[in-house]
Structures are given as C-alpha cells and as structure tokens.
C-alpha cells in the first residue's frame, strides 16, 4: 500500500515572470504517488508554463520545488528527467521510416558487446518493447514501419518511448487531441494502467469528459493562478467549468435554429480516392453538416478531395450543379473555403504578421495591378480583429505569438474576407479554449444564417450534435450512417454506427 501522505512532487508558491509580466504566480501544487492529477484552464491560464517548469524547460522566477521532500532546482530538461519526470508531448515526434521498436529506443538504444565492440541489440530492444506494450495491454507489431501505423498507435509509441526510462512521474500534455472516440477510450485505459502500476501522472487536457473519467484530483488554473483544487468526489464538469471561467456564466452552447434551404450547393457523387470509397452526399444552402468518424475514417480526406489535395480516382464533385475539377484554385473560384485540421502545419504562415495571414488567400482584393496597399490590409485586419475579438497587439504582431484559438480565428478571417459560400472546417476547435470555441460556434451559426453552408469535420461528437443540422458518419472511407441531430439518444446511436457493431458500454 502506498503512503498517501508523502507527496512525490510538492510545489510551493511557484511563479514565472517574462519581461516583467508574471504569467504564473503563487502556485501551490502536490502530486501523490500513483494518482492522476489533472490540470485544467483556458488557453493562456498558465498550465503550459507550469508544466515547462516541472520538466525543466523554464526555471521558475520564484518559489520552491520538492521531489520526495528534497528541494530541487531544475536547470535543464536533463536535470528534470534525472529526477524521474518525463513528458509525453502533444505533438508526435517519431522518425517515420524507423520501425516501431526503434522509435521507442531513440536515445536509449540497448547495446550488446560483440568482441569488445558495442553494437545495437535489436533482439533485446524488441523484447523490451514487447514487454512495455504488454504492460499497457496494447498489441502492435513492433517490426512495423512507424509511418504505417495510425495516429492513436503513434501516440502509444510516444508513451512507450517515455516508459523505457522507467519514470516515476509522467506528464501528459493533451494526449487525446485528434483521437476518435474509440481510440480515446483505449488511450485512457492505457493511462489508467500506468497509474495502477504506481506511476504518478500529471494530466493536461481541454476535454473535461475524460478528466471526469480518470482524474483523482483536479487543479484549476485561471489567469496564471491556481483557483481551485478539486478532490475526486467534487469533480463534475460544471464545477470545473465554473472555476475555470470564474464569475462568467457558462451555458453549454446549443444552436437553436436551422437555416437549411432545399437547394443542394455541394454534391459528392460516387467519389473514391486512395481512402474514400464511393462517397455520396450533398450539402444544402445554409446547412451545417457534421462529418465524424474515428481517426483514419476519411474525414480529412473529404476536405482534401474537394480541394484537389488528394487525387480523385472515380466519381465527381459538383458545386451548385456544375462539376468542378478539384484544385485549391478552382475550389476558391467556386467560393469554397478550407480551414485545415493542422493549424500549425497547414494554416498559419508563422513568421507573417496577423494582417498578412488574413489577406493571404484573397490577396488581389488589396492590390491594384499587383501592387499591394498595406494600409487597407491593416484596416481590413483590424475589422476582423474586432469582429471575432482576436486577442492580439495589432495587425502587425507575428501570428506565432498568438494562442491557438486566436490563430484559428485569424485563419477563419482569411476566408471570411472573401465571402465564401461553402466552408469546410476540419476540426475547427482542436486544442483551443472554451471561450474561443464558443465564439467559433456562434460565428458558424451566424454564417449559416447568411445562407452559407458549412461542413464541420470533428471527432468530438458533442460538438457536432450541438452545432449541426445533420451528421454523416464515416468508417474506413465509407459513409455508414446519417443522422438528423434532433432526436433522442443521438450520441449513443452515432457511437454504435461509428464503432461498427461493437457494444459501447458507456453512455
């Protein structure tokens, strides 16, 4: 039996200051052996800074850290790691052409001695890799090339990579982002299994459902301060949200009206690509259509097909009754807009200021004979900073300095300036805070009211249910179900179809 009085990490009055601004102040925190301690808060509330202090990326400006009762000051990541702390980062950093087991031991390769020369011991690594996987209750063929396994499995490999160091404390930063429902469940099981083996876990997530499911305690951050510590029996979504938002009243967003008209504006006719198989569907004017499915089911591929980023093998795509030859340019000419899933990779130009990111696509609007008018660019940008309440110092600020939610609003502005008619929004609220999410929901409702059609790809069902008129479910590239959102127990029904006959015990 573990002794629960002794904390494995104890943090007293930690603060962090950048250029005279205290982004974190007076944080007390403790982690007990074998618990899952969740950190929640809106973007910019200070969670990431706090984690970075614990993992040695930053050193604190004030306060003390104790590991097993000993005071420690981390000077580097290595220092933190040698104290038994490891982090599973939000991004996946695997070498795509390495085999699964090779990725697990990057930097900690197992060696054996042959005639006095140290060489890599592949057999030994495979054996240990399988042992780690067994502990997690996961089956992967460790000989597979990493680029061939799906996102959820890659995430597991990332976890294994950390586990080979036998850490006592593991920090998870948004581990379930971009995972489908089933994979999310699997990953949560893996994390619970780690806990049962005595590893202490700090868990950062925007997903309150899963925090409720697995967390033993929850620390809530707001504006760089710790505002609450909730014990297991106090954890409910409502209490977390009310603590996160403070006095603000949070009513879970639910779209009220539907503005769908009868005319079809976008049609998929028997479209097949590398992944999609004979996909047929249509979107009506003013409709918000949701597309869901687990990762790899083909959600993103639908967006890519419309924009010609994946080759269409057979079938055709029609816009307002006319077949189009898909390419980014043709899509834009036909008044389509694409907010891509990977904001960092496919959305922003990181070194550009906000204004240049806004005007990127419809650049001609601010130019005459190819010569740009940067004053009017800034003016239009200011309009949208105002309209979408984008938090930035101004149009000149570099976009990479903005938080995820605000970057997403900039990408949305990029399309809003061009009067698109059909918006394809792939995971539009991925990794962004509640306030920004709600702003985007309200915006989408507003757009549909103006007669624009919107397709949202999302793996988070409640989001689709509260926003869409209709939801299409994909599985392995095929449409396996279509639902009107105004019906009883819709989440359960969709889950059943999405997971394909598997019984879903959870409601």
């Amino acid at each position: 039996m573990v002794c629960i009085n002794q904390s494995i990490i104890e943090v007293k009055n930690i603060g962090k200051e950048f250029n005279g601004v205290w982004v974190l102040k007076g944080i007390d925190f403790d982690l007990r052996p074998g618990e899952i301690h969740a950190l929640v808060g809106e973007n910019g509330a200070g969670k990431s800074t706090f984690i970075k202090i614990l993992s040695g990326v930053y050193s604190q400006s004030s306060g003390d850290i104790f590991i097993n009762g000993d005071q420690i000051e981390f000077n580097s990541v290595e220092h933190s790691e040698s104290s038994g702390i490891r982090t599973v980062h939000q991004e996946i950093n695997l070498v795509p052409y390495f085999k699964v087991y090779e990725n697990m031991f990057v930097g900690s390769e197992v060696e054996k001695s042959v005639m006095g020369i140290k060489i890599i011991d592949s057999k030994g690594m495979k054996k240990r890799a399988n042992e780690v996987l067994e502990r997690l209750g996961v089956e992967i063929n460790v000989n597979r090339t990493t680029s061939c396994i799906n996102t959820a499995m890659k995430k597991i490999v990332e976890i294994c990579k950390v586990l080979v160091y036998q850490p006592k404390i593991v920090i998870f930063d948004e581990p379930t982002t971009a995972l489908g429902q089933e994979e999310r469940e699997n990953l949560l099981n893996v994390i619970t299994a780690l806990k049962e083996q005595g590893i202490s876990i700090i868990y950062v997530s925007h997903n309150l459902e899963e925090i409720k499911e697995i967390a033993d305690r929850v620390t809530v951050f707001r504006d760089g301060r710790k505002v609450a510590l909730l014990e297991k029996d106090e954890i409910t979504i409502d209490t977390i949200i009310s603590n996160m938002l403070g006095e603000k009243n949070y009513n879970s967003y639910m779209r009220k009206n539907s503005y769908a008209e009868d005319s079809d504006v976008l049609m998929f006719k028997d479209v097949s690509t590398d992944l999609l198989k004979n996909v047929n569907f249509s979107v009506k004017k003013g409709e918000i259509l949701g597309i869901t499915g687990v990762v790899g089911s083909g959600k993103t591929e639908i967006a890519k097909a419309i924009f010609g980023l994946d080759k269409i093998k057979s079938g055709s795509i029609g816009v307002k009754g006319k077949d189009i030859n898909p390419s980014p340019n043709n899509a834009i000419k036909n008044k389509l807009a694409l907010v891509p899933e990977e904001r960092q990779l496919q959305g922003i130009i990181p070194n550009f200021p906000v204004s240049k990111n806004v005007t990127l696509t419809y650049l001609k609007k601010w130019s005459k004979n190819g010569v740009l008018n940067s004053n009017s660019e800034n003016k239009s940008t200011l309009d949208y900073i105002d309209k979408l309440s984008i938090k930035t110092q101004g149009p000149e600020q570099t976009i990479k300095c903005l938080s995820g939610g605000n970057q997403q609003k900039v990408i949305l502005s990029r399309w809003l300036v061009g009067d698109f008619e059909i918006g394809v929004f792939d995971e539009p609220t991925k990794g962004i805070d509640i306030k920004a999410k709600e702003d985007i929901y309200i915006l989408m409702d507003e757009l549909s009211k103006q007669g624009k059609s919107i397709i949202i790809m999302s793996s988070y069902l409640p989001e689709l249910i509260s926003n869409c008129d209709r939801i299409i479910v994909l599985k392995e590239g095929e449409i396996v179900g279509e639902f009107n959102t105004h019906q009883e127990n819709i989440e359960e029904k969709i889950c059943k179809v999405m997971l394909g006959g598997h019984k879903n015990d959870k409601v």
């Binding site: 240049k356 010569v371 740009l372 990029r414």
Partner: protein, 324 residues
C-alpha cells in the same frame, strides 16, 4: 539554499542583437578597416568597393527570390561561365550588343526553367538537382571553348564595354545598375502580390498551398529570376573583363550563399530582403577589399570569409533559441 545567478544579458539586448547584430558587425568591420587600412575610407576606394560588389549583389538578388521561397540554387557559379561565353560568342560574331545581351538573357531563362522544372514542377530536392544542372553547364562551356577565353576585337561595340566599365557622373555604371536592381527587387518582394506569395511559400509551403497559392508556379518563377539576374551579372562581368571567360564567376556561388544567408539573419526575421542582401554582399566584399589593403594574403581572406559566415550562423541560431 543559495541560488546561483547566471550572468545573463538582458532580453532586450539579445533582441537588439538578433535584429541588428549582423548589421552592427558590418559597421564594426567597416570602422576597423577605416582605422587600420590606409585609403580604405576614401571615396575612391568606396567606389571601387561598390563596383567590385556590384556583380555579386546582382547574382545574390536573384538568389534572394529563390531563398525567400525556401529554395536553393547551386547552379549559379558554374552556369555563369556558360552565359559569359554565349554573350562573348554572339558579340564577337555580330558585334551587336543588344543581340548578345538577348542571347545571355535567353540562356539565363533557360537555366532557370531547367532548375524550375526539376525542382518546382517535378519536385526533386533543390540542392542536388540544381547542383547537377550546374555540372552540366560546366561540360557545355568546356565543350564549346575547351577552356579558352574569347577576347573581344578592338572595334567592339561601345555599349558592350559600357555595361562593365562605363561611368555616369563619375559613378561606375555597374554601381548604378546594382542600385536600380536593389530598388526593383525591394519593390517586387515587399510591395507586390508576387513577393508576398513568394515569402508565404518560404514561410510555410503547405499552408500556402492550402491557402490557394499556386506553389509550383511561384517557385518556378523564383528560379527564372535567379537565372535572369545571373545573366545580367555575367554580362557585367564579361564587359568588365573585356573578354568572355568560361571559368569567371565561379566564386559567385559561395559569396552569393554567404550574402543571402547574411541577409536572412540581417533583421532577425528569417526572411531575406533585397536591402539585406545588398548589405550582406557589402560585408563579404569589404572583407576582401579591406584585407587586401592590409596586405593579408588571399588564402587568409578565404579563411576569414568562412569564419564570418560561421559566426553569423552561430549567433543567429543561438539567438533564435534565446529570443522568442
């Protein structure tokens, strides 16, 4: 417990260093030479320095387009000779400057199209593909000339010599041409949709594609620019030398890379600008000019140039980490 305070430059200082470090370095070197090399800081020598750097600047301006779009062009040094002899051969046989210039520009465009086709359209890695194209141009120019220079006849067209040797109001024409091109490239890169899209591609190619920019087309164009600017510089060089040298211009490659790299570090933004390229080329040529005046032997000049580039890369990498 005693906390050890590390000696640290303040953030503001580092930021200043990141933004203007390379520029400040240039000024320090300039002051150094002004003090220690007699005649360095004279109008006559400064005009010579500007004339010496003019050809390098023009090549580097073309390369600035390529690097702004995140690409690389390794064919420049070797291909210069092919353009030299094209210009020379046409001039010697027709004595018509306009025709020779056109010939040189055509070869420059063809070179750019070949690079652009391989890299931007087909998608080969730019480093190796342009290097291979450069190697082919070596073969071609040797095949045509057997390595021998072509000397202009005594009655050669005046215009052909003016490009490299002429003066307007005491200022060498190559310097004027360089200045005009710096202004034009600044305008294209900073004020036009073309320039904006090139920078966008360099900033994030995938996002540019998703944002509806025709990435292939614009990357293709940057290689054409590179070829055309190389052709202009080759004509300047050949005119300056009074003979078409198949091997002249090979130094362009390393100096160009150094200049444009200095340009990307110049204002701490990671994007090369025309004015930055100009200053970068100035620093590189100033080193040659100043060290020569100090009677430093030429092999030490190479060592110094190499060290300067390493130093600037080192600072920019170090600062990129420290200053967010």
């Amino acid at each position: 417990m005693i906390k050890c305070k590390k000696l640290q430059l303040s953030h503001d200082w580092l930021y200043f260093l990141k933004k203007y470090g390379t520029f400040m370095f240039g000024i320090i070197v300039f002051i150094f030479f002004s003090i220690f090399a007699d005649n360095f800081f004279s109008i006559a020598n400064q005009l010579i320095l500007l004339r010496q750097m003019s050809m390098l600047t023009v090549v580097a301006l073309g390369f600035t387009f390529v690097m702004a779009a995140g690409g690389f062009d390794m064919s420049l040094g070797n291909a210069a000779g092919l353009i030299n002899i094209t210009f020379g051969a046409i001039l010697i046989s027709t004595n018509n400057f306009v025709l020779s210039l056109t010939g040189a520009l055509v070869v420059g465009v063809l070179l750019g199209m070949t690079n652009g086709l391989l890299v931007a359209i087909i998608g080969l890695p730019d480093f190796i593909a342009t290097f291979a194209v450069g190697t082919i141009t070596v073969g071609l120019k040797m095949l045509i000339t057997k390595g021998n220079p072509m000397t202009f006849p005594a009655d050669v067209s005046k215009a052909a010599l003016f490009v490299g040797q002429g003066k307007i109001g005491g200022i060498p024409f190559p310097v004027i041409l360089m200045m005009i091109l710096v202004v034009i490239v600044t305008f294209i890169l900073e004020k036009t949709t073309l320039g904006r899209r090139i920078y966008a591609i360099g900033g994030n190619q995938t996002a540019s594609q998703y944002g509806g920019i025709n990435v292939k087309k614009y990357r293709f164009m940057t290689f054409i620019f590179s070829g055309v600017f190389l052709a202009i510089a080759s004509v300047m060089l050949t005119s300056r030398l009074g003979s078409a040298q198949p091997l002249a211009g090979e130094d362009f490659m390393l100096d160009t890379i150094a200049s444009v790299y200095l340009s990307t570090t110049m204002f701490g933004e990671g994007e090369p600008k025309a004015i930055g390229t100009f200053i970068g080329a100035f620093i590189i040529c100033m080193l040659t000019n100043g060290l020569t005046m100090l009677n430093i032997e030429y092999y030490f000049q190479y060592i110094t140039k190499g060290l300067v580039v390493i130093l600037s890369v080192l600072t920019s990498v170090y600062l990129a980490d420290k200053v967010k």
